[in-house]
C-alpha cells in the first residue's frame, strides 16, 4: 500500500509538474503577447518649449557647432534656439522677413538659407545676435507659381552648395510643369555665385540631404512617381519626372534628354473630358504598363529608387533624410532616418551597395508626431529635432506646426536591425537574440513582392504582387541572424518581409516593427546556402497535415445563409486589420479628421455599399473640397475586403 501511494504521489507530482510547466509556458506566452513593447517604450517624443505665440511652421533646421539649433519658418523667420535640449530653450530672432525659408546650413560663421527665389548668406557682423548682411549668392528665376518651392542648401565636401527646385502646379495640377529654368532641377552653386545645373527630373524634392558627402533626396508620389523613395543624385542624372527636361538644351546642362525623346516612348496621359476641359488621368486596371526599371533600358540616365517607401505605409510626402551618428540610437547608429509630412512619422532605412548600386530595407520607426515632419536635425545630446508644419496639406498629427525632439531611453528594442540581400534570399540581423525555435520555423516568415507603374498618372497601385516562398532558414549560433532561402526573387521589386511570429529569446516579445520593405535592385553574387544547412521546419504545414491525418480535412466552416454572410456588418476588430493592411489608416481615423475625413463623416454622406467600394477603388476628391490631399485610387484592395470596409463604414451612420 505504501509503495502504491508513493508511486501515485510521485506520478501525481510528475503530472502536476507537467501540467504546471505547460500552464506556465502558456501563461508566459499570453503574457508576452499582451505586453510586447511598442515604439514609445524606447523613443519618446518631447516638445521643445517655445514662447507662446511663436509661429513655428518649420521649413529648415540646422544645428550649429556650438549646439544652438537654427530654426527657419515658412513665415520667413529665423530663430536661433539656445539650449534646445534643456528645460528652458532660449529663442533669439536672428532674422525675419525672408520668403518662405525651406532649409538652412551653417558654414564658416554664416547661415546659408534657401528662400523661394534665392540662396542667401546671412551674417551677424556686429554680433548683436541678429543678421545684418543678407547677401544674395544666387537668385534663380521664378514664374510666381505658388508651388515653386525651393529646398536646401546642403553643403558638399568641397564647400559648394546644392539646392533642389520644385515644379510649378498649373490649373491641371496633376501634370506639374517647369515654367522657368531650373524648376525641377538640382543646382550646384559656389560661394561666388557660379551655378552648375546638376541633374533634372525632380518633382517635389523637399527631402534634399547630404549623407557622407553624397547628395540624396526623396521625391513624393505624383505623376511619374508611383510612390515615394530615396534616390542618390548623380551629376547628369534624370530622376524620373519629364517636365524639367524642357531646359536640357540650355548651355551647361549635363543631360541631353529632351521631352520629345521621352514622350516618344512614354504616354504623357494628357486627357480631356467631353467639354474639352483637361481632366486628371486615372489608373487603368489590367493595362499593359511599364515599370521604371523597364524605362531605364530606354533611358540609361534615369535614376531608379535606391529604397522605395511604400505609399501610405511608410509615408505619403517623405522629406529629409539623416544618418544616425555613432553613439546615437543604439543599434541603429550608421543607418538612415527619413521623415514624412503627411503621416507625421519617421522611417528607418538600412542601406547597402550591391554591384555598385544602392538598395536596402525600410521600416516604420516612430509615429505620433504632432504635425507633418519636414526637417530633421541631430542635437548635441544625441536626440533628434523634428521641424513640422502641415499648413495647406493636413497630416496625421493635427497640429498645424511643431518643433519636437525624439529621445532614446537607452533601452534596446527588439527589432530587425538590418536586412542584407543574399545570392539566394535575405539575411536578417536582429538587435537581440531570437527565440531559436520560432526563428527556425519557416511559418514565422512571410515574403511577397510587388512593384509600381511608371506612368503619367498620379501615383500607382502596387502591381505584379507575387508570393516568395521560403525554402529554408538558417539561424546563427548567437541567435542574432536568420538567413532565408527565398524563391521567386525578382530584381528591382519591393520585397515585403513580415516576421509576425518572431520573438526574442529574453522576453519572448514580438518585434516592435514586424514588417520590412526591401528594394532588391541587384541580387548579389556569392555562396548560396545548401539545404543541409537550413531548417525546413514549417509549423503551418505541420498543423495542416495533422488536421488531414485526423480526418478533419480542410473543410471550410459551415456556410451560413448567403445573405447573412455577405451583409453581416463587421465589427471594428474585424475590419481593423483590413484597414491597416490596405493603408487606409495612414489617412483616416474613425472619429477624427486626419489627412482624410473621419469615417463617421464619410458615413454621413449616405453612400451605398456599392458606391463606397467604387470610391475606394476610384475616389472622388471633389467630394471633399476642404481636404488638401486627394485620395489616391486603390484598385488593389480586394473586392471582398472593400465590401467589409464599406459595410462597416455604413454602420457608423447614426
Amino acid at each position: 500500500m505504501d509503495n502504491t501511494l508513493k508511486q501515485m504521489i510521485k506520478r501525481g507530482a510528475f503530472l502536476c509538474t507537467l501540467v504546471i510547466i505547460a500552464l506556465v509556458g502558456d501563461i508566459r506566452n499570453t503574457f508576452a503577447q499582451a505586453e510586447s513593447p511598442k515604439e514609445d517604450d524606447f523613443f519618446k517624443i518631447m516638445k521643445v518649449p517655445a514662447p507662446e505665440g511663436t509661429i513655428l511652421e518649420v521649413g529648415g533646421l540646422c544645428t550649429l557647432p556650438n549646439g544652438t539649433l537654427a530654426v527657419t519658418t515658412r513665415r520667413g523667420d529665423i530663430f536661433m534656439v539656445e539650449n534646445p535640449t534643456g528645460q528652458h530653450p532660449f529663442f533669439r530672432k536672428f532674422a525675419s522677413g525672408l520668403h518662405e525659408v525651406l532649409g538652412a546650413a551653417w558654414k564658416d560663421g554664416a547661415l546659408y538659407v534657401v528662400q523661394r527665389g534665392e540662396l542667401t548668406k546671412l551674417v551677424d557682423t556686429n554680433m548683436d545676435g541678429k543678421a545684418d548682411v543678407f547677401e544674395t549668392i544666387y537668385a534663380w528665376p521664378l514664374s510666381g507659381n505658388y508651388h515653386e518651392y525651393s529646398f536646401g542648401p546642403k553643403i558638399a565636401p568641397d564647400g559648394s552648395f546644392f539646392v533642389t527646385l520644385n515644379l510649378g502646379f498649373p490649373p491641371d495640377w496633376w501634370h506639374p510643369k517647369s515654367f522657368v529654368p531650373w524648376r525641377g532641377w538640382a543646382l550646384n552653386i559656389k560661394e561666388d555665385g557660379t551655378v552648375t545645373p546638376w541633374a533634372a527630373g525632380f518633382r517635389s524634392p523637399c527631402g534634399i540631404s547630404m549623407i557622407d558627402g553624397e547628395l540624396w533626396y526623396a521625391d513624393n508620389q505624383g505623376d511619374w512617381v508611383g510612390s515615394g523613395s530615396i534616390m542618390p543624385i548623380k551629376k547628369g542624372a534624370f530622376m524620373g519626372h519629364p517636365s524639367s527636361l524642357v531646359w536640357t538644351g540650355l548651355p551647361n546642362s549635363p543631360l541631353k534628354l529632351t521631352p520629345e525623346q521621352f514622350f516618344a516612348k512614354n504616354n504623357p496621359r494628357v486627357e480631356f473630358d467631353k467639354n474639352g476641359q483637361p481632366v486628371k488621368p486615372q489608373d487603368i486596371v489590367n493595362e499593359k504598363f511599364k515599370t521604371e526599371f523597364e524605362a531605364k533600358k530606354e533611358f540609361p540616365e534615369l535614376q531608379l529608387p535606391a529604397v522605395w517607401l511604400p505609399h501610405g505605409i511608410l509615408g505619403i510626402s517623405n522629406s529629409e533624410i539623416v544618418k544616425i551618428p555613432e553613439g546615437a540610437f543604439g543599434p541603429f547608429a550608421g543607418q538612415l532616418l527619413i521623415c514624412d509630412q503627411g503621416q507625421s512619422m519617421i522611417d528607418r532605412i538600412f542601406l547597402e551597395k550591391v554591384n555598385g548600386e544602392y538598395q536596402g530595407a525600410a521600416w516604420a520607426f516612430r509615429s505620433g508626431f504632432q504635425s507633418g515632419i519636414v526637417r530633421l536635425a541631430w542635437l548635441s545630446d544625441g536626440s533628434l529635432a523634428t521641424g513640422e508644419t502641415n499648413r495647406g496639406w493636413g497630416s496625421a498629427g493635427e497640429a498645424t506646426m511643431g518643433l519636437q525632439r525624439l529621445v532614446w531611453n537607452n533601452r534596446v528594442p527588439f527589432e530587425m536591425r538590418a536586412i542584407r540581400a543574399m545570392p539566394d534570399g535575405f539575411e536578417i540581423e536582429f538587435t537581440k537574440p531570437v527565440d531559436k525555435k520560432v526563428a527556425a520555423d519557416i511559418a514565422s516568415y512571410s515574403i511577397e513582392s510587388f512593384i509600381y507603374k511608371y506612368h503619367g498618372v498620379y501615383g500607382s497601385p502596387p502591381v505584379n504582387t507575387e508570393k516568395c516562398p521560403i525554402a529554408g532558414v538558417k539561424v546563427s549560433e548567437d541567435g542574432l541572424k536568420a538567413r532565408l532561402i527565398v524563391n521567386n526573387l525578382r530584381r528591382y521589386y519591393i520585397h515585403t518581409i513580415t516576421l509576425a511570429a518572431i520573438r526574442d529569446k529574453e522576453s519572448y516579445f514580438n518585434l516592435v516593427h514586424p514588417t520590412a520593405y526591401y528594394t532588391l535592385n541587384n541580387i548579389p553574387e556569392g555562396q548560396k546556402l545548401s539545404m543541409t544547412e537550413v531548417s525546413t521546419v514549417n509549423s503551418a504545414k505541420a498543423v495542416a497535415s495533422a488536421a488531414v491525418k485526423k480526418g478533419m480535412g480542410t473543410k471550410k466552416a459551415t456556410a451560413l445563409k448567403p445573405g447573412a454572410l455577405v451583409n453581416a456588418i463587421p465589427t471594428y476588430a474585424e475590419v481593423q486589420p483590413l484597414l491597416l493592411k490596405n493603408t487606409c489608416l495612414s489617412c483616416h481615423n474613425t472619429t477624427k479628421r486626419q489627412v482624410g475625413p473621419a469615417y463617421v463623416d464619410v458615413a454621413k454622406r449616405k453612400y451605398s455599399v456599392t458606391e463606397l467600394i467604387q470610391l475606394i477603388h476610384s475616389p472622388k476628391p471633389e467630394h471633399w473640397p476642404d481636404y488638401s490631399t486627394p485620395m489616391p485610387p486603390m484598385p488593389q484592395v480586394p473586392k471582398e475586403e472593400a465590401r467589409k470596409i464599406a459595410l462597416w463604414i455604413k454602420s457608423l451612420a447614426k
Binding site: G97, H99, V133, T136, G144, E148, P171, R391
Partner: protein, 611 residues
Amino acid sequence: MDCFNQFPKLSGRKKFWIVCFCLLGYQQVRAQNAVSFHDLSFFDNPSSNWKIAGGVQADIAQDEVLTLKEGTGILVNLPGKKGAKDLFTKTVYGDADLELDYMMARGSNSGIYLQGRYEIQLLDSWGTVNPKSGDNGGIYERWDDSKPDGQQGYDGHAPRQNASRAPGLWQHIKISFQAPRFDGKGQKIANAKVLYIWLNGVLIQDNVELSGPTRGAFDKVETATGPLRLQGDHGAVAFRNIRIISYDKPQPTLSNLKYRVYKGGDMAGDAYNKLKPESEGASPVLSSNQSKLNNDFLMRYTGNIQVKETGEYAFKLSVPGGKGKFRINGTDVVTLTENAGQGKIQLPAGDHPFELFYSKTIDWAKPALGLTVAGPGVREHLLSDANVSNNDPVDPILINAASSPIVRSFSDLPGGIRVTHSVNVGSTALLNYTYDLDKGMIVAIWRGGFLDATPMWHDRGDGSSRPAGSVQYLGKPVPAIEKLHDANAAWVLDTAGTGYKPKGYVLNADDVPAFKYLIYGVPVNDASTLMDKGQGIHREITLANAVDGLFYHLATGNVETLGNGLYAIDDKSYYIRIDDAGGAKALVRDADGKQELIIPIQKKLTYSIIF
C-alpha cells in the same frame, strides 16, 4: 465694399471662382452725373473765393499756396484774408453717391458737407500717424455748446487709417451716403448713414451712423434732402471730376417666391419639366440655402418683382460653380451665363413675373445664389439672401511694420505683373515701399498699414502679400541703371547685357536695408531712408566707381517740371525731387507715347520720392 470673396483661394489644385459680387461702388459713370466746371453755374450764388481754373499747383514748402493756370475744368478755393464763404449746390440730394478728386494746399482745411449738414473733413494730414476725426477723411464731430469746455465735441469718427497724399497731389474720394428717414408725421425714424468712404483706394469709413448734424451744419434741422456744400472759409483747396449720383426712387422688391430643386445640374432647355423636383416650396427670401443639395442640382425660382418707377433696370446674377439665367416677363434679362452675368431691361411700373435658374455642376464651389438690381435713382442692392456666401470667412493675417519692418513676398502690380523677387519695407511712420530686386527699382509706395499677408499665409497660400494702405504704383518695373549711347536711346526693359546681379541687402543699426547689386561690373549701393514724418523716401544711389554713359531711370509717365528739381508725375500723383545729382541735369523725354524722366549718373545720385 462687400466683396463676398475677399481672399480667393489661389490653390493650384482647386479651380476657384472669384465671385467678387461688389454691391457697392457700382459706378454708373455717365456724363449726366459729372459736374461741369466750365463755370460755377452748378452752384447757388458762389462767393468770390471760388474760381474756375485749367491747372493748379501747390507748394509743399509753403502753407496755403495754390497757384492757378487759366482754363476750365477745376474748381478752386482761395479764401484770402476774409469774406470767404462755403459753396452750395443748387440741386438738393437725399441718398447719393459722390466721387471727386481734391487737392489740398499745405496746411489747408476744407470739408464736404453731405446735405449741407454732415461734414466729411478734408485736411492736409500729411505725416499724421494717428488720424483723428478731424483728420483727412474723418467724419467731423458734433458739437454741444452746453457741455463744459473740452467736452463739447462728440460723435466724431476717425478714418480707419491715414490714407492722405502730400499737398499738391490729387486725392480721390468716394462717398456713399444714405439720408435720414422720416415717417408720415415728419419724425425721424432712421439716422443718416455714411455707407462707405474710400480715400485713395482705402476704405476709411464703413457703415457709420450719423446721430445728427456735425458741427457747423448750415441749419439746425435734419430733412430728407439737402444741398451738397464745400467748405471755403478755412483753406485753399481744389476740386475736379465731381460726379454725383442721386438715389431718390424706391427700390424694387420681390414677392410670391416659390422654388423647385431638381437633382442633376447639367440640364439643357426645358428638360427639367419632365422631372419630379427633389424639393419645392415657398420661400420668404431668394436663397440657394433652400436647396439641400450641395451640387448637381437645378434650382428654379419664380415670383414677382415690383417696380415702382418705369425705367431701365440693371441686374447682376451670381451663380458660382455653375450656370444661371434670369428672365422677367418671359424675356432673358441675364442670358445663360457661367458663374456670373448681368443684363438690363426696360420695365414699366408694376408687378412683373420673373424666373431664375441656377444650375450647379462644379463640386469645388459652395452654392451661393446672388441677385442685385440697380435702376434710375435706385442704388444697387441685393435682392437675394445676404447670408449666403461661397467662401468661408478667413481671419486676415496682417503684418505690422513695428514688429516686422522687412518682408519678402511676391508682389502683384497692375497689368498682371507679378514681381517674384521683391522686398517690402515698412516703417512706423506709415510710409512703406516695395523694392524689385530684379531691377533695382522701387515699384510701389504706400501710406498706412504695412502688409496683408493672408494671400501667402492662409492655407497653402500663393506666395504674395498686398499693401494694406493707400498705394501709388510707380509704373512697370524697368532696370534702374542703363548705359545709353545717347540721350535718346530707348530704355531697355530687362537687365540682359548689363551684367546686373542682385547682391541682397545689409541692415543698419535701425534695421533699415541698403540694397546692393552689380551693374556693368560695378558694385552699387542703393539706400533709402524715410523722410521726416514719413513724407517720402530719400534715395541715395552710390556706385563704387563711375562708368561712362550711365543713366538713372527716375520715372515713366506724364512728367510736369515744377522747378527747383521738383517734378510731378502722372497728373500730380507723386513727386520726384532731385536732391543732388553731382551737377547732372535731368531730362524729360518722350518714350512710346509717355514721358521718361532720366538723369545721367556718375558715382552718386540722391533724389526723393514724395507722396
